[in-house]
């Protein structure tokens, strides 16, 4: 082994050690401004690598207009869009502020965010509360129904969930995800098991601290009625696990994959916080009745942090039901997705295992060298938004990360290592 290869190997072993040592615990729900002190009026955090208004896709623009009305920065959607075009809002990526957000990924000062603390390293990561399926802000929805739900999450549900979490000292997520994998979840497009486990963990404390039984009933029904409730928790968990892996000199491990609906971006441990970007791909999947591929927006969201830690498309073998939902074929084909991702990762997670694959661990530690060498792009399970603002989710599918991101990253990494 050459000196360079040896340095990379040692750095990557350290990256894997940090991934597997992570101890993420869901500890609280607080207003975003409290979690992220750098947030200020008219600042909007979005999914993906940096993007300005002129390059934002339709659903991202719809969400921006909606959140501006929600925060009281604009009187209506039309005025909000005009203000955005005139530069009234400061757009920044969630990833730059210890946060992640699904699809459009709107995070602003008054929204409640769930707090996941990585107790092995002391860092925290944040994500808003999942709104449910269909016409919701993360898919670009922005009408009165969407904004009313956000107000309830801010004023009712969020504080109640935060109070329950604080009273119980938090909910450890690694064992919960391990059980979810045995219940058919992959934590991106299927969160039925983990949502049920979270409801079971949260409801006694929520009941104990409830002042209004009708409100308690509404809150519990909201969790129980949303199969994807756990997704946002899994995302904050992924961010909390991967952030301590950033900045390991000579490591080729991917620390973030993210999309803003226009660009796909990745970050690599050894190249720090630089984004390597390429145009996003179009998901291939299944559409809700009345919608087709012609309605679809390209790939979007910070939710690919789930794949970055070895879940989602990487754990497809654990979730045969989702393979059908996202149009990825049969149960045996689902297993093939996981086996393929093992070709581009450095190890298997010893604690997150898949029964149907003889308890092999989920593929972990994406190595840019292996992606470029094999030409196997990471597989991502994703929801599909309508390409126009204001409509919402129209389907779900599978999409690949663009290889161009990994090729760019490899060249930059090689330059940094003095290899030409």
């Amino acid at each position: 082994m050459t000196d360079i290869a040896g340095r990379i190997d040692a750095a990557n072993q350290e990256a894997l050690r940090r991934i597997f040592a992570g101890d993420p615990v869901l500890v609280d729900v607080v207003p975003a401004a409290e979690a992220i002190p750098a947030l200020w009026e008219r600042m909007i955090l979005h999914a993906g690598p940096p993007v300005d208004w002129s390059r934002m896709c339709g659903p991202m623009r719809g969400a921006v207009a909606g959140i501006a009305v929600f925060e009281g920065w604009a009187p209506d959607l039309e005025a909000a869009a005009q203000m955005a075009g005139e530069g009234a809002f400061d757009f920044q990526p969630n990833h730059h502020f210890d946060a992640v957000g699904p699809m459009t990924g709107m995070t602003t000062i008054s929204q409640p965010v769930m707090v996941v603390e990585n107790r092995a390293f002391g860092n925290r990561a944040f994500c808003t509360i999942n709104e449910g399926l269909g016409k919701v802000m993360r898919f670009g929805g922005n009408d009165a129904e969407v904004l009313d739900r956000l107000r309830w999450l801010r004023d009712g549900f969020g504080p109640a969930m935060g109070k329950a979490l604080r009273s119980g000292g938090g909910i450890p997520l690694k064992p919960l995800v391990a059980r979810g994998l045995t219940m058919g979840d992959e934590m991106h497009q299927r969160n039925v098991g983990c949502t049920g486990l979270m409801l079971r963990a949260l409801s006694p404390a929520m009941a104990a601290s409830a002042g209004d039984l009708k409100e308690l009933s509404r809150a519990l029904a909201f969790i129980g009625g949303n199969d994807q409730f756990f997704l946002n928790i899994a995302m904050a968990m992924g961010k909390a696990i991967m952030d301590p892996v950033r900045g390991i000199e000579a490591s080729t491990v991917v620390t973030a994959m993210s999309r803003n609906g226009t660009d796909f971006g990745i970050r690599v441990s050894g190249t720090g916080d630089t984004w390597f970007t390429a145009p996003v791909e179009m998901p291939e999947g299944l559409y809700f009745p009345g919608f087709t591929e012609a309605d679809a927006n390209p790939d979007m969201g910070d939710s690919t942090i789930v794949e970055t830690v070895g879940l989602g498309g990487f754990a497809m073998g654990a979730a045969p039901a989702v393979a059908g939902f996202v149009g990825a074929g049969t149960a045996s084909e689902a297993a093939n997705f996981t086996r393929a991702m093992a070709e581009i990762t450095l190890a298997e997670n010893p604690e997150w295992t898949i029964p149907a694959l003889d308890y092999r661990g989920v593929p972990s530690g994406i190595d840019i060298r292996l992606v470029v060498e094999t030409g196997l792009a990471p597989t991502i399970n994703t929801g599909i938004a309508h390409r126009e603002p204001g409509i919402g989710q129209v389907g779900a599918g599978v999409v690949r990360a663009p290889l161009a991101c990994f090729r760019q990253a490899l060249k930059a990494f090689a330059g940094q290592m003095g290899v030409a």
Partner: protein, 77 residues
Amino acid sequence: MAAQDTASETRKGYSVPSNDRSPVNDLLDMPLRVVNIGLESFADDLTAEGAEVVHVDWAPPAGGDPELAALLAKLGA
């Protein structure tokens, strides 16, 4: 090999069977069991003809890009 034993040289240097009944013809008369490497469409065509095919999903490193392949070699991939 039997094929070499029965081959003669043409003016262009290609080996050709010296009789009508080459081992290749014998092979094609038997049920085929094929390992296909690379282009999957070759395997699909054979499968459509009823042949038993194992496809190996292979591509040159870095998709055949010499610059990236050289970098990968230096980076220990």
